[in-house]
């Protein structure tokens, strides 16, 4: 084959270019520490790199979640441990008080200490972790019990907590969630729910209600305003009674009023704009001298105000609005304290000793819950261990997948460098020589 000058030059340029491309590839590998910089360098490695990044990011987040779950469980355990101590001390005092030989003064002293223990138990129910109430189920920004010692409702539930429903789950693995909370009812109410009755009560004194009560155009209108609802005042009409001569008893009249108002509420709800919350129905009850209307809304400011016309005017109602309802049930543990304290105040040692069984039941319940939390803490330790193994495995897999073997990359780089230098040197020789150099 004939070799011409331009061939030599263009081949040399091409080969030098190839050398340089390889050189820069290894240079980049050494500089970045990665085998690939764009997916086309190796699509399989690229796809796997993306997957492993997600895996690592997930495991790192799970580790954070596990840490937070552990802190929450530790805080719960701590609170329950203190509660256990309170109950233990209270039981000792109760045993002491059940002894019929105590003087009234001694019983008084014991009773005073028991009262303090009760207060402590109530405050314990509102333990927090990072500013959130741990026994309040989903309502972590609300206290589970009323702990205002001056309130008449002190020691009663302030909110509803559904023991089976309100479990907060943390994700601690792929498809692996753990409930990290204990509800107030589970702990203080022997595994039952915590419950609080409705708020926003409107009670009215009524003078002129006699049965059978007949409704007609003069007295069938119910006009009320409900805080926080879009359509005020709301006007409903009581239908005529099914029985001739009018409503025969309070229950049927109350139901007729309740149904009429709630039908009206439903009508309003249908017409609400997108995104706004529906109005909640109300409850109505009537006894001898009162009619009581309550919203089923759980917010303390929601109150019902009645307008003194129609039905209300005909029964001569005097409106009293109670917006600070929060009248909850008394948890069984607190009730036990109350019963013991009441027994002591009466000096009824029989009644006191009867409560010892209840104490055992309550202490047993706290232990049951603690054992459950302990088991969960245990599980978290195991999961944490598994996650740190996973993290090591995934990180290693990620490194194997996309990181270069530095020694190898440097060897390759050095190799390419010498090839490049050699081809430069060879090129310089080939290019400069021709017959011209030798002709005189």
């Amino acid at each position: 084959m004939r070799i011409t000058n331009n061939m030599v030059i263009s081949n040399m340029i091409k080969n030098l270019g190839n050398n340089q491309a390889r050189l820069s590839k290894y240079q980049e590998q050494v500089n970045t520490g990665k085998k690939i910089s764009v997916p086309s360098d190796d699509p399989v490695v690229a796809a796997r790199a993306l997957k492993l990044r997600t895996d690592v990011a997930k495991v790192e987040q799970y580790q954070k979640n596990i840490g937070d779950a552990q802190s929450w469980l530790d805080a719960t355990d701590e609170a329950m441990s203190k509660l256990g101590d309170v109950l233990q001390r209270a039981r000792e005092l109760t045993v002491q008080a059940a002894n019929g030989t105590n003087t009234p003064e001694e019983t008084q002293k014991i009773s005073a200490e028991l009262k303090q223990l009760k207060i402590q138990a109530i405050h314990q129910s509102n333990s927090t972790y990072a500013g959130r109430y741990i026994f309040s189920g989903y309502k972590t920004d609300q206290k589970v019990m009323n702990d205002d010692e001056t309130s008449a409702n002190f020691g009663k539930y302030a909110i509803d907590v559904n023991t089976t429903g309100e479990k907060i789950f943390y994700e601690v693995g792929v498809g692996d969630s753990i409930s990290i909370n204990v509800t107030g009812g589970d702990l203080f109410n022997l595994g039952l729910d915590a419950s609080n009755s409705s708020n926003g009560i409107s009670t009215s004194q009524i003078d002129k209600l006699t049965y059978p009560y007949t409704v007609d155009a003069t007295n069938d209108a119910i006009s009320i305003s409900v805080d926080g609802n879009p359509s005020n005042p709301l006007v409903a009409t009581i239908p005529p009674a099914a029985t001739p001569g009018g409503y025969t008893d309070a229950a049927s009249l109350a139901k007729a009023i309740q149904d009429a108002v709630n039908t009206q509420i439903d009508t309003i709800n249908v017409g609400l704009p997108v995104g706004s919350a529906p109005m909640l129905p109300i409850e109505v009850s009537i006894d001898a001298g009162h009619i009581e209307l309550r919203t089923t809304s759980k917010t303390s400011t929601s109150a019902i105000t009645i307008t003194n016309s129609g039905f209300f005017a005909s029964v001569n109602a005097t409106n009293t609005v109670e917006t600070t309802g929060d009248v909850g049930e008394t948890p069984s543990m607190i009730k036990m304290f109350d019963d013991v304290i009441a027994g002591m105040e009466k000096g009824d040692s029989k009644a006191i000793s009867n409560q010892l069984d209840t104490f055992d039941e309550q202490i047993g319940n706290v232990l049951r819950v603690r054992a459950d939390v302990g088991a969960r803490q245990n599980r978290m330790v195991l999961t944490e261990d598994r996650m740190s193994n996973d993290l090591i495995n995934f990180t290693e897999a990620m490194s194997n997948n996309e990181n270069v073997d530095v020694a190898e990359a440097i060897m390759n780089l050095k190799n390419e460098e010498s090839v490049f230098q050699a081809s430069l040197a060879a090129g310089a020789r080939i290019i400069q020589q021709s017959l011209v150099d030798f002709l005189k």
């Binding site: 084959m1 004939r2 070799i3 011409t4 000058n5 331009n6 061939m7 263009s10 081949n11 091409k14 764009v38 997916p39 086309s40 360098d41 190796d42 699509p43 399989v44 690229a46 796809a47 790199a49 993306l50 997957k51 990044r53 997600t54 990011a57 790192e60 987040q61 954070k64 979640n65 937070d68 990072a130 959130r132 189920g137 989903y138 309502k139 972590t140 920004d141 609300q142 309100e166 907060i168 789950f169 943390y170 994700e171 498809g175 969630s177 805080d227 926080g228 997108v274 995104g275 919350a277 809304s297 759980k298 917010t299 303390s300 929601s302 996309e402 021709s434 017959l435 011209v436 002709l439």
Partner: protein, 552 residues
């Protein structure tokens, strides 16, 4: 009887011949670096001999140069042109696909995977503390970051598509100007060669132009004989065709024109892209060259039927394909995230999504501040501001409960078709008030994360996309792009090698070799010297004959 000065004439022809040869060598040497130049050889032969009738036969009369030829293997030119077409196509594809790869930014610490991981991790933090304003703000920012990733990528794709469009225009201009230069050269070569000579240097220029043209567009260049000329020579026309249609036919030229499209080919396209057509309006069929590479990447949507429902897009995964994939992603993802809609055996099923939940109720003032119906992701509307959930969903059933009719679902689904990767964003509701980020399934329960946990399931929902979960979708998109780019790189590289091998062979045949020229130069110098010596010798002969021969 021989002529007296016959010998000196013979020697003179030797001088001329050597000089003509040296001229050719000089021409070769000065063109050693001229692109496309073929070395030339003088055709030298003995001049017509004299017949003498004295029985000694024919007497040589010296030498002459009868022509100058160019050394060229035309077969290699054809080979070069056909391979160079594929070289142009894959070179462009490789270059443009690597730009697309850069736009995706994977694998890196700032690509989609990292951004999505961070978004979901922020959501996990929210699950642990749904009432914290700081974590809510974090979720919003991570959501915005994720949306911005799509906005930026889509905008970059659109910009790239417009850039390619400009390149198409330049490419067509280049093809047309090259074609008209070839047409001019055809005229010169034809009229010069009518006399039977060879227009060596003009032919070299034409071959070089065809070399350039073959990289731009798939061409076939041939010399076709159209019968005989009056002087008995073949009437040769030079013809360049593109997919069978003539681009340059001897003295005639048909240009390629570009015109702006009235309707988009693909719904994802930028506006006013160019269509390349023949001057007479006929369709331009492309099978290779840079122009095809550009059009495949600019218009390619894997053969999907275009916006008009008839025209198919090029069967290649170009920018519209990746745009449509990004759009598919944001639509499906936003729908699953907002509404809880997922695929089950190809049917849309309503589940729990962001719109079904309640946000933070900071002061417990009642259901007024709850967020049912709030969508986390919507799109940019007028004035490039995010639209609110109610505007976005406007008119459709607001929050269909589980088990709503397929009609409701498709009504909502239609709203999501308005989202594109470019206008995808976090809704104005969430932008203005992070308390609207919903976590709870009951109003006022600020620690309730039932809805949030359902939303988090979107991340690992394997049936959300044909490719699997959201991250699998992007993973397979990036891997698919990687495979295409790798293929283009390989083709481009191997095609480049083939082309340069053919070019090497051409240079081997046609290239000027200085050593060879030097050797010939020495050879003809010697011949010249010898002829000159011959004249000297003749001169001495005549000196003897005329001056020394004693006459009188």
């Amino acid at each position: 009887m021989r002529q007296s000065f016959f010998g000196i004439n013979i020697a003179l022809s030797g001088l001329y011949t050597a000089q003509r040869n040296l001229d050719t060598i000089g021409h070769n040497i000065s063109n050693v670096t001229t692109p496309g130049y073929s070395r030339q050889l003088s055709v030298q032969n003995a001049s017509r001999p004299l017949a003498v009738l004295d029985g000694t036969g024919m007497i040589g009369t010296g030498s002459e140069v009868s022509g100058v030829n160019r050394v060229r293997d035309e077969y290699l030119d054809f080979k070069y042109w056909s391979e160079n077409t594929a070289n142009g196509e894959w070179g462009k594809k490789s270059e443009l696909l690597s730009q697309i790869e850069t736009s995706f930014g994977e694998p890196s610490d700032s690509g989609f995977v990292t951004i999505t991981n961070e978004f979901f991790n922020a959501y996990q933090e929210l699950a642990k503390d749904p009432s914290s304003p700081a974590v809510r703000a974090l979720v919003r920012e991570k959501g915005v970051t994720m949306a911005k990733y799509f906005n930026n990528t889509a905008t970059r794709f659109e910009k790239q598509q417009e850039d390619i469009n400009d390149m198409v225009r330049l490419n067509v201009d280049q093809i047309n100007s090259t074609a008209s230069q070839i047409q001019q050269l055809n005229k010169q070569i034809y009229s010069y060669e009518l006399e039977g000579n060879s227009a060596n240097d003009l032919r070299d220029s034409r071959t070089l132009l065809v070399d350039n043209l073959s990289k731009l567009i798939n061409i076939q260049a041939t010399e076709v004989s159209y019968g005989k000329l009056p002087n008995g020579e073949d009437d040769i026309h030079f013809l360049i065709t593109v997919s069978g249609k003539p681009l340059v036919d001897h003295y005639n030229i048909s240009k390629i024109t570009i015109q702006q499209r009235d309707d988009k080919l693909n719904t994802e396209d930028a506006g006013n892209l160019y269509d390349a057509k023949w001057e007479n309006g006929n369709k331009l069929d492309l099978t290779g060259g840079e122009l095809k590479g550009l059009l495949d990447i600019r218009d390619g949507k894997d053969g999907a039927v275009g916006a008009d429902g008839i025209t198919g897009s090029p069967l290649y995964k170009g920018i519209p394909y990746y745009q449509s994939k990004l759009n598919e992603f944001v639509r499906t993802f936003a729908m699953a995230f907002n509404e809880g809609y997922t695929n089950s055996n190809g049917t849309l099923v309503d589940g729990v999504g962001h719109a079904d939940g309640y946000g933070l109720d900071p002061d417990l003032t009642g259901p007024k501040t709850s967020s049912t119906g709030i969508r986390f992701f919507t799109m940019f509307g007028d004035g490039d501001l995010p639209v609110s959930s109610s505007t976005f969903i406007g008119g459709a059933t607001s929050t269909p409960a589980t088990g709503t009719t397929p009609a409701d679902l498709s009504q909502i689904k239609a709203r999501y078709q308005n989202i594109t990767a470019k206008n995808f964003t976090v809704s104005s509701d969430v932008m203005n008030n992070t308390n609207t980020i919903s976590t709870s399934d009951v109003a006022g329960e600020n620690g309730n994360i039932n809805v949030l946990n359902k939303i988090l399931e979107v991340r690992s929902n394997q049936s959300l996309f044909y490719e699997g979960a959201p991250e699998d979708f992007m993973k397979s998109l990036v891997a698919g792009l990687g495979i295409d780019a790798q293929q283009a790189n390989r083709f481009s590289k191997s095609q480049d090698t083939i082309v340069s091998q053919i070019d090497n062979r051409r240079m081997s045949v046609s290239g000027v070799d200085i050593n060879e020229e030097m050797t010939n130069m020495v050879k003809y110098q010697q011949a010249y010297n010898a002829a000159a010596k011959m004249i000297t010798t003749m001169a001495e002969l005549y000196d003897t004959l005329i001056n020394r021969l004693g006459v009188g």
